[in-house]
Symmetry: C2
Subunit: 404 residues, 2 copies
């Protein structure tokens, strides 16, 4: 799918408020503290990083979810400091952020907490704490408030990532609205950097968890920017129930909900990949004919994580040999005689031999902002779509000087 | 170890000749066809790529080794074209190169064949065949001939990689002389791009195979430039026996041979990493306290393959959080409280918390050409040293325009 722009024409689900303020963590005066609350306690589901160095806010949020049985009243988040690898002081700061947010917003149930930014630096709590109070004072269910929240979570991102969908069940409109951030250190293996979704569906915790996990698996977990899984990856959905539409196991409403949630999450995944650090192109890799989805995605990730494939696409070079090389590196035992590689509609390689390359046609495809690649790797039933971006000198510039 | 310069002060092992010629594959007139022969049939051992897309010369050489019981008279090699993903025509061309080389050099036993360069392009056999004959006509056991051979195998490399060692056993001098190439698409998982070693030790095929595999495992297989394993990776050693020194199982001579061979191979590995595409620094990552060597190397590779670690070092930024992140991504279940990270002699992180960073001291270490990093990940007995290089805008420039 080609769309990778933030959908700014969204409707806000019932029962939520957002706000953002500045703790001057990133730069003086920039929005870097966000608050996302449910008017009454909501049902939550979340997925977190698999990195052994899980950040303090990840550990705190996981514990909160367990203790509350996933009944949560919101999320407080800061950008500019990851609060990861920060020891006991970091843990205390993460708990303090959640407590401050709960008190300031007067909510009954606890809030989850997220951080993103530089690893190994302590939070400036003397500025974070008042900023949380500032945000709580202006919580609002308006579109502007949501937009500010979506801005406040960004780091090296160049734009907000926003996606939404709605459907009608039993005459009631259900809305799903999400935003995300992440531009580098992006290789979500169980979740992505930060993604927040609000829905007014009325859905039980177990069902929400299952729906959200499935959607994350086919969206954020099919995306990579640079193969590095962050210490802070967190994706959270809160369901307020305020639409009045009941989503129950086995129902048509659940099928609709799952479909629309997947649309929202895949849109966020594309927006994230397109805005990868220094990126100029969105690359969509569709793998067909693998043993199963997992095998297909593994091969897709191997292609998507190849610096050589990514630099070739940046250079508008139809160097498909590098795609062969990446496929061969997946360790999937691919029968090379069955491999077929397409760039847009152009078949580059099949039956173990190169085809005459129409350089002009290839250059035309590679000059677009959206680069579709299809890799057929056998005759199995497994397929997967993986999104990534090109690798440019701008990525080196950003990451050679991020902290300094 | 700090040394990563080619050792040009080498001695040539007895019983070998080298030569190079131009087939104008890379650029008109540049040396790109090399010949490396044993005066009488030699004992060979080799390791090859694990990529599913093994190149035609890899498949041909593997078959030759099997058919001859590793009794080989040399190697013919070209650079500028990988002869990979080239179908039946490519296979015929690889076999033809080996046959031409055997005829032209008048050798009794077959030669192995190697290629390196762009994937998916057919060899210009009308130029390659006469170039092999040119090379055969000037085969010589001189140092100059070896130097020319070492040059002829280069692609995006900026310099030759040469290492040698010798020892005396029973009053006889044994020499081990190797050269290698490889600058991008470098993540040797069973061998490296191309490495050729000659020794005049007298050693049986099984013993040579074991010694060489061990040495490759601790040298080329501990090195990565960009995490891409090439389709053509090949490392070959030929033993002429002409020193008269017999290397037998369980002997002190074997222990000496293994030690010196490892020195040569690790020197080549460091030279390769330092000359990675666009690199300005050699990074040595020493992992301590893992469960075993394999686990330690896996963590070392995860750090070495992190674009974020590599760009930070390029930017002389002591961003050790990215090293934590990479360690956590290895999936080794590391206990983060036991992790300690050092840059040179500076402890950056221990006991789950950052230490006050002396930025000036860190900048001093990071301004050197050789960057030593130590990661202690637990209290296990496993350790490993992995070599890589920094990731720079020059890498993007080289790979955004390699084929065009």
């Amino acid at each position: 799918m080609k769309n990778w722009k933030a959908d700014l024409d969204f409707e806000v689900p019932a029962g939520f408020r957002w706000a953002a303020a500045s703790g001057s963590i990133k730069k003086p005066g920039r929005l870097d503290v966000g608050l996302f609350t449910a008017d009454t306690t909501a049902t939550a589901a979340a997925t977190f990083t698999q990195n052994d160095f899980r950040a303090a806010p990840v550990l705190v949020s996981q514990q909160t979810l367990q203790e509350t049985g996933s009944r949560i009243s919101g999320v407080v988040v800061n950008s500019g400091c990851a609060n990861a690898a920060t020891g006991a002081e970091g843990s205390a700061n993460a708990s303090s952020m959640a407590a401050t947010a709960q008190n300031a917003s007067g909510r009954e149930a606890p809030l989850l907490v997220c951080s993103t930014g530089t690893i190994g630096v302590q939070l400036p709590m003397d500025r974070v704490t008042p900023a949380i109070a500032d945000a709580a004072a202006k919580l609002s269910g308006s579109r502007e408030a949501f937009n500010e929240f979506a801005q406040s979570i960004l780091t090296t991102d160049t734009c907000e990532k926003i996606a939404w969908a709605s459907f009608v069940a039993d005459g009631k409109t259900v809305r799903i609205l999400g935003c995300a951030k992440g531009s580098g250190m992006m290789y979500p293996r169980m979740a992505t950097l930060l993604a927040f979704v609000a829905t007014d569906a009325d859905i039980a915790p177990d069902l929400l968890r299952k729906s959200f996990s499935n959607a994350v698996e086919l969206s954020l977990n099919c995306m990579t920017i640079d193969g590095d899984t962050s210490t802070n990856d967190t994706a959270i959905i809160l369901a307020s129930g305020k639409s009045g539409a009941n989503v129950t196991a086995g129902s048509d409403t659940l099928r609709l909900f799952d479909q629309k949630l997947l649309e929202v999450m895949q849109s966020l995944a594309r927006q994230l990949a397109r805005d990868g650090e220094g990126a100029t192109k969105l690359i969509e890799i569709n793998v067909q004919g693998a043993a199963d989805f997992t095998a297909a995605r593994h091969i897709g990730r191997e292609i998507a994580n190849s610096n050589l494939v990514k630099t070739a696409i940046y250079g508008r070079d139809a160097n498909w040999g590098r795609i062969c090389c990446a496929i061969g590196n997946a360790g999937a035992g691919v029968d090379t005689a069955k491999v077929q590689i397409k760039l847009g509609d152009i078949v580059l390689f099949k039956e173990n031999a190169p085809l005459p390359l129409d350089e002009e046609a290839a250059l035309k495809v590679l000059s677009e902002e959206f680069i579709p690649i299809e890799a057929r790797v056998g005759s199995g039933p497994g397929s997967a779509t993986v999104w990534t971006c090109d690798l440019t000198d701008k990525y080196i510039e950003i990451n050679g000087s991020y902290r300094t």
